[in-house]
Amino acid sequence: MLELKNINFDVETEGGNVSILKNINLNLDENKIYVITGPNGSGKSSLAKIIMGIYKPTSGNIIFNGEDITNYSITERAKLDIGYAFQQPPTFKGIKVKDLIKIASKKEKNLSETCEVLMDVGLCAQDYMNREVDKSLSGGELKRIEIASVIARELKLAIFDEPEAGIDLWSFQRLAETFKAMHEKKDTTLVIISHQERILNLADKVILMQSGEVKEITDKDKVLSEISRADDACKCSASCEKGAGKNVKCDR
């Protein structure tokens, strides 16, 4: 359903051109869950923003259900039922949570449907419906509202940028279930940028990125086993590849 062909993305900086994404080729199938993982700065968010149209690729093409959407605006892509949940959601003075959900919903949602969307992200609808989406909300609350605004849209392709950030462990299981339900009931293809084991567990395919490239497309078992191996290595510092007992920087 989504095809990325030879996507390159460069940005100009004072020190010259920096290549953020290098020759990305991906083919995402309908009704699957993809988890993109990889170290910070590997280009995961940039890739998500290129799919949503927030960034324009320097070269390459994006094909969505047979249509070349490379030059489509964010709005045009949204109308094709592509959605994106921000890693750091913006705030809006004067716009209430229920207003945002209403904007997001294609068809008018009744009260109980709006409640449900909020409950899906672990928020008590009664407490939040009339709150403003402003800085009075905590980072975790904002993040959940952001996710709710994307769930409300009933999409063909939904991208979540590190949805776990700022969400407590208690709510997390619920969130994982919500993603699963979204995928099963609404046939939404999910692309989730995440480092979380519970999220990785949902994946049909895991896309591993490194230094702006797709390093590997694999299944979750392989990634999970690698994580557990690295975990063991951490616990038993004697076998740490970075050197036991040394004051070294660790990415994990």
């Binding site: 709005t75 959601p89 913006p90 705030t91 997001a104």
Partner: protein, 306 residues
């Protein structure tokens, strides 16, 4: 008789479609148009200068007074002095507002000078809306002056709204609070084209445990300019908080001058002021929900000024 233009103006400035319920005084082109008093609310024409005295008896609850002004003649300068005497233990809504329909080329101006005396333990909600329209090139000028004297335990909510339409406005508001008195001022303003707006608000907290909150939200578009000067003065144990927030667009100018003055060591005063444009993330977020860039901008401004 009220014609279609008058009714449209009335609807905008007073949220009423025809003649209002309760007490009212409608002023049109410098003259009294119609008036209604009730058992508890009397309206008397001033004898020394143009304007009215509105007298609200003590213990009047859940009643309203509308005093809208309509200016539909071009080249008119209308100065009016309205006094409101609110008794003790009242709970009333007062709606003032001025609408100008200037289809001519000469300047039309309305200077509404309102003073309020709010008795002990009374709650007054005062809503003031300003609106200008008309195809003519004549300027639409509104210069309201409002003063409030709030007795012990009184609570005043002031809502002032001016969205587009008015070319030039200087708004002066002064509030004096006595013991345990409270005021919340909410001001919303949108200017565009070459409009100019200035708002000066001074709150004097004279009494012990008085408190004040000023919330100002404004949007400056086109070549318009806005200037704000909010001053909170604490002369006693009191609390004051000013929030002044402006969205600036195009070639507009916004000047915000904060002032907090404490003359008592138990005065707690805070001033927050911010001027900035719409954040691009806000636009992008709403576009990603399917709105166009223009719709996103309108949604953000509408929420901001709501």
């Amino acid at each position: 008789m009220l014609n279609a233009i008058d009714k449209k103006i009335l609807e905008t400035v007073a949220d009423i479609h025809d003649v209002p319920q309760g007490a009212y005084n409608i002023r049109k082109n410098g003259k009294g148009e119609s008036r209604k008093t009730t058992k508890n609310i009397d309206i008397v024409t001033k004898t020394d200068k143009p304007g009215i005295d509105v007298i609200i008896k003590s213990n009047t609850k859940n009643e309203s007074v509308h005093v809208p002004v309509i200016l539909s003649a071009t080249g008119l300068t209308d100065v009016v002095y309205n006094s409101f005497f609110v008794g003790e233990n009242c709970d009333v809504v007062i709606v003032a507002g001025c609408g100008i329909h200037n289809s001519g080329c000469a300047k039309t101006q309305h200077d509404g000078i309102h003073d309020f005396h709010v008795g002990k333990n009374s709650h007054v909600k005062y809503i003031e809306k300003h609106y200008g329209e008309g195809e003519g090139t004549g300027g639409k000028v509104l210069n309201p002056k409002t003063t409030f004297e709030v007795e012990d335990g009184g609570f005043v909510e002031l809502e002032m709204v001016q969205i587009k339409g008015v070319d030039n406005t200087i708004r002066d508001t002064e509030v004096t609070l006595h013991k345990n008195a409270r005021v919340i001022v909410t001001e919303k303003l949108l200017t565009y084209l070459n409009q100019e707006a200035e708002s000066n608000i001074t709150v004097d907290m004279e009494g012990e445990n008085s408190s004040a909150q000023i919330i100002s939200r404004s949007v400056a578009q086109g070549n318009s300019s806005q200037k704000y000067h909010f001053n909170m003065v604490g002369n006693n144990k009191c609390k004051g908080h000013t929030q002044c927030d402006a969205i600036i667009m195009d070639n507009a100018k916004v000047v915000s001058i904060p002032e907090i003055s404490a003359f008592n060591s138990d005065a707690q005063l805070i001033h927050e002021a911010a001027i900035g444009k719409i954040a691009s993330e806000q636009i992008i977020k709403l576009m990603s929900l399917g709105l166009t860039e223009k719709e996103a901008e309108e949604t953000i401004l509408e929420g901001f000024l709501k």
